[in-house]
């Protein structure tokens, strides 16, 4: 059987999380709002209404360009893409055609096996979203809340070679968008939408095969499934001696299957021309500098720094840089702790992320802070509490929002280091267990651990075990 190479390019639509829409003052996020409530003369295409560019959209698009290392057009233009559809009230979409804000660039990401993949970006442009159409029986309903919501369309080069790579690209993109704070990037809520162009060719061939475009893929899992289905279909067709035709295919998420929408014979003519109602988007050096100053360290760079400068193993660095908030929590904790970063990492991964997972929270929702975590580890280090109490403290701080030290005081969780209290219990344990004492004295000194355990049990874990051990040895040897 022939071996095939898979070639995938992704077109993603990213909904920017601006407060207002791209070209008017309406609220941009209508999630949960009744239909046609966040609308105005501008976004519903009333005659005479004019668009005005939302600066926040440009800023967020610019951040994405910087993160993707794209070439930035200091003067980019808006164009009209003309087509007639009921959910497009102006009769044209305002978008960027030939002079868009960003061109080129790349997203680097790691596969689970540690392999690094570089996916090149063809182009990044800003545009407005259209409304939503819904059919109810014979009636077609239009919700214009989404009209004019700002999007960035980012198109990759055909650099991805498996469904896994495509899915990982999307996961990394989603991580990056949230990291930058420019999109909620929730695929289920269509903040992040993906169309995939898939083709195959015999391994070693240089010409690209006919590609099929899969539309409407709304989760990472669906991307993986849909692409794999399509690869299988194309291989099956090719093996059967059939030609692959250029189709547009829809992913039906409910049925979990692909459905052919149309054969693509001729490209639509959108009659692009410059949108005369908007001035070119001119990015000044000062504005660019301002946006650059706001740019956070990016995930891969931070991961590398966690390894090289903070001495973390690769696994830890990957986990702790999955989200920006997690990495910042960790760094705050390390700065406050000033000790072994790996020790902080263990506490972070085992305890803090345990709470996040158990309670379905995100790191930004936590009441416990990086400073609190550092304080707890220090309490354990100083033997004010033992390790298991320390772990319990993480939960208690999260529950109450109080500082760890205060909880220790209030709840009396501190280890008892008062000699006389421990000595009293030790004496009682020695007195009550004559058999074990005899065995110890007979030479089985390892039994000391058992005695310490008895003391700890009596004192409900609050005794300093080192101290208890010393007193017990003294008492046992004295006999």
């Amino acid at each position: 059987m022939t071996e095939y190479e898979v070639i995938i390019g992704l077109e993603t639509h990213i909904q920017l999380n601006t407060v207002t829409k791209a070209f008017c003052g309406c609220k941009a996020d209508s999630w949960g709002d009744p239909a046609n409530t966040n609308i105005c003369p501008i976004c519903t295409g009333q005659p005479g209404a004019l668009p005005s560019t939302n600066k926040a959209m440009v800023e967020k698009a610019l951040m994405l360009c910087l993160a993707m290392d794209s070439d930035i057009n200091m003067d980019s233009y808006f164009d009209r893409k003309n087509y007639l559809y009921a959910d497009l009230p102006g009769g044209y979409q305002i978008t960027q055609n030939d002079k868009s804000i960003g061109r080129g660039g790349h997203l680097d990401f790691l596969m689970d096996d540690g392999r690094e993949v570089r996916c090149h970006i063809h182009n990044l442009h800003m545009e407005e979203d259209a409304g939503k159409t819904k059919n109810e029986g014979d009636i077609r309903l239009i919700d214009m809340n989404r009209c004019g919501v700002p999007l960035v369309e980012m198109v990759t080069m055909p650099d991805l070679h498996s469904a896994d790579e495509a899915a990982t690209y999307l996961m990394r993109l989603r991580q990056l968008l949230r990291w930058l704070g420019i999109s909620e990037a929730n695929m289920e809520k269509a903040h992040l939408r993906c169309d995939a162009n898939v083709s195959i060719r015999p391994k070693g061939a240089t010409e690209l095969g006919k590609k099929c475009e899969i539309k409407n893929i709304n989760s990472i899992e669906a991307v993986r499934m849909a692409i794999n289905f399509e690869i299988d279909r194309q291989i099956r067709e090719t093996e059967a001696g059939n030609k692959i035709e250029q189709w547009t295919i829809e992913w039906d998420n409910d049925a979990q299957e692909l459905r052919k929408m149309r054969s693509k014979e001729t490209a639509a003519d959108y009659r692009y021309f410059r949108e005369p109602n908007l001035m070119p988007v001119h990015i000044t050096e000062a504005f660019l500098a301002e946006v650059k100053a706001k740019m956070p360290e990016l995930p891969l760079a931070r991961r590398a720094r966690f390894i090289s400068e903070m001495g973390l193993p690769e696994y830890d660095a990957t986990v702790l840089t999955a989200e920006r908030d997690t990495s910042e929590f960790f760094e705050t904790a390390c700065r406050a702790y000033t000790g072994d970063n790996k020790r902080v990492s263990n506490w972070m991964m085992n305890e803090v992320l345990r709470i996040v997972n158990e309670r379905g929270l995100s790191v930004s929702d936590l009441k416990i802070s990086g400073q609190d975590l550092a304080d707890i580890i220090r309490l354990v280090d100083a033997k004010t509490v033992n390790t298991s109490t320390g772990k319990k403290l993480v939960d208690l701080v999260q529950d109450s929002g109080k500082p760890p030290k205060k909880i220790v005081e209030e709840e009396g969780l501190g280890l008892v280091s008062d000699d006389s209290a421990i000595r009293e219990i030790c004496a009682r344990v020695v007195e009550n267990n004559p058999n074990e004492v005899a065995t110890y004295r007979g030479g089985k000194e390892t039994l000391i651990g058992w005695f310490v355990g008895q003391v700890m049990r009596e004192m409900r874990g609050k005794a300093d075990p080192e101290k208890a051990k010393a007193i017990l040895e003294e008492l046992l040897k004295a006999g």
Partner: protein
């Protein structure tokens, strides 16, 4: 004694402020004049023009009497209470029916917008409100402003020229021009994309200002070609034009192309005179250049009476201390009409796409199978001939495969036309002009049907002297300079550099003052005699 309705807006405002007349009184006098000269308003249900229609002006589509009475009474109340007043408080005005007026029918003179009441006011209407002016009606125009004669309106009877009722008032702001020249209000708001304020102003013997692109907000005005649309006043005096422009001009956050350039006090600056101004005359504006049937450029003379008026005005300006610079080349003027054809049609086609029969306006009553059939039928019924022609030619010319051939070439021609102006006005250049004096039109108002007649070169090219300023974005004012031997008004245009409205208004004003006692100024339009 001069009647109230013959007074300028500034004179009317002064009488109101001095409590010599009330705003309601002035409004009633204005409405009485409309009643006397205008005839029945333009309507979609008037297929045949009756003989009596031919004797009336028909400037209006809609009179907003109740709305206007309320506003006028409010002005009177403020005056009685001694409250602060806008500079145009109580002055009645009309607006071309492309200005969106909240809750008041706005038609663009097209059936496709039948019954539409905008949910908002245009910026210019808001600013007129702030100045205290009282809108009392919406006036007719060429459908969607597509035309220069008012004949393409879907609202009949068509507007007639008060100076000769068998002649067109010009267009597309023909209703505005006819209303003001027939004393139906001292001010009307028009729009100008290729000469639509200046040509009808010239045809009806009044003043019309096309401001710099971006000087007056376009927000809330139904567009023709968005890269060239401008909004301005039509008035009987230069002072009125200056004061209205001052009130409506300025930056508007809702219109991206408005400039943050301070608005000058155009009215106060009129008195500064024109001594020392350098005024150019270009041979390219004293002839019509056109493409003949073989595709070669040919030229034709303009009406000799009009050329004479240009030289006479030049003499007057010279006598007032201006310097006249002859033979200023504006060689790219000839590209204006064909390039205009391409760019305006492409933009117009795109701007017309939103009229789908679904969201507002006319919806077909025929049965339809699906959404697309609803579009086809509603648009087929709703758009008139000129709108359809522009849609078709615009869709044709905007095809991707023709992008280089038409749109890009037209944009290059546009850049060349702009360069003519840059060179002429360059303060370090050869000509260092403050203004250029041109005829507003190559001929006076023509008869109905004239623009489509076979020997109608001058009429077809009626906007050759006005459309270059829409390409260049520069301002122009048309002002009356006399009457032709047939007794029709002739207009001249002073055009200046970006945001130099003050200078060109000073030139128009200087001419107006210098000729104020001339006999032709005492002649009334035929409809008022």
């Amino acid at each position: 004694m001069t009647e109230l309705i013959e007074l300028s807006a500034l004179e009317q405002a002064k009488l109101i402020r001095e409590k010599k007349i009330s705003a309601v009184e002035l409004l009633e006098a204005t409405l009485k004049q409309v009643d006397a000269v205008d005839g029945r308003p333009g309507s979609l249900d008037t297929p045949v023009e009756e003989p009596e229609d031919l004797e009336k002006v028909h400037a209006f589509i809609l009179l907003t009497k109740a709305h206007a009475l309320e506003k006028a009474a409010e002005v009177d109340r403020k005056i009685a209470a001694g409250e602060a007043l806008g500079v145009l408080a109580g002055v009645p005005y009309s607006a071309k029916d492309v200005y969106c007026t909240k809750g008041i029918q706005t038609t663009a003179a097209s059936r496709i917008l039948e019954g539409w009441k905008p949910p908002y006011d245009s910026t210019v209407i808001e600013r007129m409100n702030q100045a205290g002016a009282v809108m009392f009606g919406k006036v007719n125009l060429d459908e969607f402003t597509f035309g220069g004669s008012n004949e393409t309106t879907a609202f009949k009877p068509t507007v007639r020229n008060p100076w000769g009722l068998d002649r067109v008032p010009g267009g597309s702001s023909g209703g505005s021009a006819a209303a003001v020249s027939a004393n139906e209000g001292a001010i009307s708001l028009g729009t100008d994309t290729g000469g639509s304020i200046r040509e009808p102003a010239a045809f009806t013997g009044i003043v019309g200002v096309k401001p710099t692109y971006g000087r007056v907000s376009r927000y809330g005005v139904i567009p023709f070609a968005s890269s060239m649309d401008t909004m301005g006043p039509l008035t009987r005096t230069v002072s009125d034009a200056a004061v209205v422009l001052r009130e409506i001009a300025g930056f508007d956050p809702r219109d991206n192309v408005t400039g943050r350039v301070p608005v000058e006090d155009y009215l106060a600056e009129l008195e500064e005179g024109i001594r020392g101004l350098r005024i150019g005359i270009s041979p390219d504006y004293l002839k019509i250049t056109y493409l003949d049937d073989d595709g070669n450029y040919s030229s034709a003379a303009i009406d000799p009476e009009i050329e004479k008026s240009v030289w006479r005005a030049a003499e007057i300006f010279r006598s007032l201390g201006a310097e006249i610079i002859e033979d200023v080349p504006m060689a790219n003027t000839k590209y204006s009409v064909p390039a205009y054809f391409v760019i305006t049609r492409i933009e117009a086609y795109s701007n017309l796409q939103r009229f789908d029969g679904l969201k507002y306006g006319h919806t077909t009553k025929e049965p339809v199978r699906d959404m697309y059939e609803l579009y086809y039928k509603s648009r087929g019924e709703g758009f008139g001939y000129q709108a359809k022609l522009r849609l078709l030619t615009g869709m044709f010319a905007s095809q991707e495969k023709f992008y280089e051939k038409y749109y890009r070439r037209a944009q290059r021609a546009r850049a060349l036309i702009r360069r003519d102006f840059d060179d002429a006005f360059d303060p370090a250049g050869k000509y260092r002009l403050d203004a250029i004096l041109t005829p507003s039109t190559p001929s006076p108002a023509f008869k109905f049907g004239g623009a489509t007649a076979s020997d109608s070169l001058l009429m077809q090219f009626a906007d050759q002297f006005t459309s270059p300023m829409n390409f260049a974005g520069t301002p122009g004012v048309s002002f009356p300079c006399g009457l032709s031997s047939e007794g029709l008004p002739i207009g001249l245009q002073a055009t200046g550099y970006d945001y130099c409205e003050s200078k060109i208004l000073r030139i128009a004003y200087a001419f107006e003052q210098a000729t104020s006692e001339e006999d032709w100024r005492k002649v009334k339009p035929a409809a008022l005699r």
